[in-house]
């Protein structure tokens, strides 16, 4: 089984200097291909790749955001498996074979890697053996930090978009990352949730290790408060798009309605209330996604969370 390693880049030239050689080495071992999807960088990333890594295919795109760049790169790939990598992820040379082995099962949609810090310790960022629960109107994401529980391959809610392998055909069937979540965050959670909703699995693979230099992509380019607002807005949109259980959906909206009252008691305008207003502007888009989800879903929200924690179908 051949794979295309896709590095989605936006003004990450400095990071490419480390991530591309690692990806090339991993790809070389299995005869795979490396593609950099450049999302309209202006920092000389493309010139750097053309001069230093001429054998790497560069897909030059107009700046449209992470989701669109990823979707375009996956659509352009010609292999059964695609591996999405962030520019701040350094893969280990042998990270690919365990992923390909897992993806050989017909009901597996995606497999996520084991994320570690540059010193080999486990990362605090979301990524390893993810799970979720609906609380206070939002899906709360959890990730495993106990090393003992990260030794075996197991199901997880979603594979972190920073380093994930997936079946290209299933990606296309799901419609890939949703532009609803522009500019970033929650696309990968949404994709994993919807895959489980169609009866497919998402796995965590401990033998596929990658180093994640946390937050160095978005944190470097954007204001922190704005990033938090976008994340909160997308958390709301995720619930609006995907929470189909009527009672749970009503409870979620009641919780969200209370935010405005809670937040007004705090000086300044905090992200939660602003996030609600920002989400309302995209309600039509969320409604279209929800309609599609209602047509395609094969199990309940509770079943999705249960199965993604390893419960039997």
């Amino acid at each position: 089984m051949k794979a295309t390693l896709i590095i989605v880049n936006y003004n990450g030239r400095r990071l490419l200097e480390r991530s591309v050689p690692a990806a090339r080495e991993a790809a070389r071992r299995g005869g795979h291909r490396v593609v950099v999807a450049d999302d309209g960088s202006t920092d000389g990333s493309v010139a750097f790749l053309q001069s230093q890594h001429p054998e790497v295919h560069v897909l030059r795109l107009r700046h449209a955001g992470f989701a669109e760049a990823s979707n375009a790169a996956v659509a352009a790939a010609d292999t059964d498996v695609v591996v999405l990598l962030n520019t701040d992820v350094i893969v280990s040379p042998d990270f690919l074979p365990p992923l390909l082995e897992d993806l050989a099962a017909p009901d597996v949609f995606a497999v996520g890697c084991k994320f570690v810090n540059p010193d080999g310790s486990l990362t605090d960022a979301l990524g390893n053996r993810t799970s979720g629960s609906w609380e206070g109107g939002l899906l709360l994401i959890h990730h495993e930090t106990n090393p003992e529980r990260l030794r075996a391959r197991c199901p997880q809610l979603y594979a972190n978009g920073g380093a994930m392998a997936c079946q290209r055909a299933k990606w296309l069937a799901l419609g890939g990352f949703q532009a609803l979540y522009r500019p970033f965050y929650w696309e990968d959670v949404d994709l994993g949730y919807r895959a489980w909703g169609r009866g497919w699995q998402v796995l965590y693979e401990p033998d596929s290790v990658v180093v994640h230099e946390q937050g160095s992509t978005i944190g470097r380019l954007y204001d922190r408060e704005w990033v938090e607002l976008m994340s909160a807005k997308n958390a709301v949109l995720f619930s609006w798009r995907n929470l189909l259980d009527p009672a749970a959906f009503r409870r979620a909206l009641c919780s969200q309605a209370r935010w405005a009252a809670d937040d007004v008691l705090i000086d300044g305008l905090p992200p939660r209330t602003r996030a609600l207003w920002a989400a309302l502007r995209q309600v039509r888009e969320a409604a279209r996604g929800r309609a599609e989800e209602a047509r395609e879903r094969t199990c309940s929200d509770a079943e999705i969370l249960f199965r993604s924690r390893g419960g039997a179908a």
Partner: protein
């Protein structure tokens, strides 16, 4: 039982590093109102800060004690003045402090902002401040409810038009 008016009740959520705010407030009230005995009403987190500024007579809330017990503890001191120290920027904290000040029975309240500004209000002025904050929260709750009702109608409508629940369930 203490004589009404002899005691000033200090209400605060101040944390470590905010001792100066409380000290300034207490000094200002002592200067304006003469030598008063102070009793502090605070959460356990504020107790070390209060001890540092010499306020050792305390009524603690937020440690699982019922609101009635806290209010009874405050009222038993028969405070004539209340000192609200607005160390936190949270309006919910302001509301709680003002509510306790109102319920304490104090006739006069000194509202002390971190910058050192002190404003004196009577019971009516304090009640109006509490009511205004409650009204603002209620208005926002209504706005939040309208937003979510709109979203609910739109999203549930789209879902209903799309077809049955879990249409592809095997």
């Amino acid at each position: 039982m203490t004589r009404q008016g002899a005691t000033a009740v200090v209400l605060t959520f101040a944390r470590r590093g905010e001792q100066d705010v409380i000290r300034a407030a207490v000094d200002e009230v002592s200067r304006r109102a003469g030598a008063a005995a102070f009793v502090a009403v605070a959460t356990p987190a504020s107790l070390p800060v209060l001890a540092e500024v010499g306020l050792r007579d305390t009524v603690v809330f937020g440690d699982g004690s019922g609101v009635r017990r806290v209010l009874a503890g405050v009222r038993s001191r028969r405070p004539g003045r209340a000192v609200v120290v607005y160390s936190s920027g949270r309006m919910s904290a302001h509301l709680k402090l003002e509510f306790v000040a109102l319920a304490s029975g104090a006739r006069m309240t000194y509202r002390c902002a971190p910058g050192g500004r002190v404003e004196v209000v009577g019971r009516l002025g304090l009640a109006w401040s509490v009511a205004r904050k409650c009204l603002r929260a209620a208005g926002c709750l209504a706005a939040g409810a309208i937003v979510c009702l709109l979203a609910w109608a739109w999203l549930r409508g789209a879902q209903a038009l799309a077809g049955g629940r879990y249409a592809r369930r095997a």
